[in-house]
């Protein structure tokens, strides 16, 4: 289709889901552009040609013309029928993932994404997929509405807290594509980004095998990966920089002042309470924004995270 409006779209990385979308968009753009040009030219031409000559200008009495009315009702009607059918066909394809699609589970939360694989591997804010094979994401939210949007693939689907939704694509080449959250979800909505990384089939399998499922490694290593997968780092920096919540750097053993005026020293019990019941104590200068991780983190997980935080000294 025409290249006139190609600059408006990002490079298409998943032709199986996006080619029909691009084509119908180009068609609408071109037809609209022609009609808009016609209307604009007519407006300017009439304004010049029929400019008022004097206050006593007589104008002819033209009340209506049924033939003209029917023409400009029926032609647009036919055009929009074409567009409807075209869009419907492309959309139906988006709604029906191929049977051989590779399934990955997505969990969205304020403000990040966790991707889980069949073998138990989990990874935060990065989804690795095999190129040249359809991939189906089965998604659910842990809190509010989110939406999974990959412009390069022309796909988008809201992620709901009470049921699963699904979306599919097929990246043809190796490469990275940007994921956005497109359903407004609060303070860091605009930081709720992720990346799709497409590998060749062999590289993908190798990558998947490398991912340990959280069983191996030292407690500190496990803690570090949990902090990333569970999205803690979206709000709590590990380098002392200012984010939505207090930084993890130097947190352990730090003297903190609470919003109610009391002070305490951050120890194991305080961190544990802050993970399970975040609204119990709020550090001065911060909002009560965090959701409880009760049920999402086991006692062992929490111990691992505390061990990791201990290593982050000033």
């Amino acid at each position: 289709m025409g290249s006139l409006f190609d600059f408006m779209l990002p490079e298409l990385e998943s032709p199986l889901t996006g080619a029909s979308t691009d084509a119908v968009m180009a068609f609408i753009h071109i037809v609209s552009f022609i009609i808009l040009a016609g209307v604009t030219i007519a407006l300017i031409y009439f304004a010049i040609k029929y400019k008022r000559k004097s206050e006593d200008d007589e104008t002819p009495l033209i009340t209506h013309n049924n033939k003209l009315e029917i023409t400009w009702s029926v032609i647009p009607l036919l055009l929009v029928f074409i567009v409807f059918g075209w869009g419907y066909k492309g959309w139906l394809n988006l709604q029906t993932p191929p049977d051989n699609a590779y399934e990955i589970h997505v969990s969205a939360y304020k403000w990040g994404w966790t991707f889980s694989y069949e073998n138990g591997a989990q990874i935060g804010n990065e989804v690795h997929v095999p190129a040249g094979r359809p991939v189906k994401l089965v998604m659910q939210s842990q809190d509010v509405l989110h939406s999974f949007f990959v412009p390069d693939y022309r796909i988008k689907q809201d992620v709901l807290p009470n049921r699963y939704t699904t979306v599919w694509f097929q990246a043809e080449e190796e490469g990275e594509s940007q994921v956005f959250c497109t359903e407004y979800c609060g303070t860091s909505h605009s930081d709720m980004l992720a990346t799709v990384v497409a590998h060749t089939q062999e590289d993908f399998e190798a990558w998947l095998d490398e991912q340990n499922t959280g069983g191996g490694g030292t407690p500190v290593e496990r803690g570090e990966s949990l902090v990333s997968i569970q999205g803690c780092v979206t709000c709590h920096s590990v380098d002392g920089s200012q984010k939505i919540g207090p930084s993890f750097q130097g947190l352990f053993g730090r003297e903190e002042t609470m919003t109610n005026g009391t002070t305490l020293t951050a120890d194991e019990n305080y961190i544990r309470e802050s993970i399970l019941n975040p609204s119990a104590k709020i550090v001065e200068g911060y909002q009560n924004q965090m959701v409880s991780y009760e049920g999402r983190l086991s006692d062992d997980d929490i111990s691992d995270i505390i061990e990791y935080i201990k290593t982050l000294e000033d």
């Binding site: 399934e103 089965v138 699963y164």
Partner: protein, 105 residues
């Protein structure tokens, strides 16, 4: 607009009592039918709503005078009901036909 009616309709007391009595009887019928007659669903709901519709018609037509009033007022009532039905039926098109996604692992 339809022609103007200079004489406002005045119902007789007998008419009003007849309508009221019918409404009382219909109330008793709908309770008896619901409690003591086993109608298989969904026809139990259909029966209850049909009786309610008859009652509503009687109230609108005779207590609210629509039967003798200008037709435009009746049209307004019908329009409200139509828009309510459109709202509910199109929403049901979503809520009744959602596709259940089941994760495979």
């Amino acid at each position: 607009m339809s022609t103007h009616n200079h004489e406002h309709h005045i119902s007789t007391a007998g008419q009003l009592w007849a309508v009221g009595t019918t409404l009382f009887i219909l109330t008793i019928i709908t309770v008896v039918v619901a409690k003591f007659v086993a109608i298989p669903p969904p026809f139990d709901v259909v029966t209850a709503i049909s009786i309610a519709l008859i009652k509503a018609f009687l109230v609108a037509a005779f207590f609210m005078n629509l039967y003798w009033d200008v037709k435009f007022n009746a049209m307004l009532l019908i329009m409200a009901v139509i828009f309510f039905l459109l709202m509910i039926s199109i929403t049901l098109l979503d809520t009744m036909y959602r596709n259940d996604v089941v994760p495979s692992f």
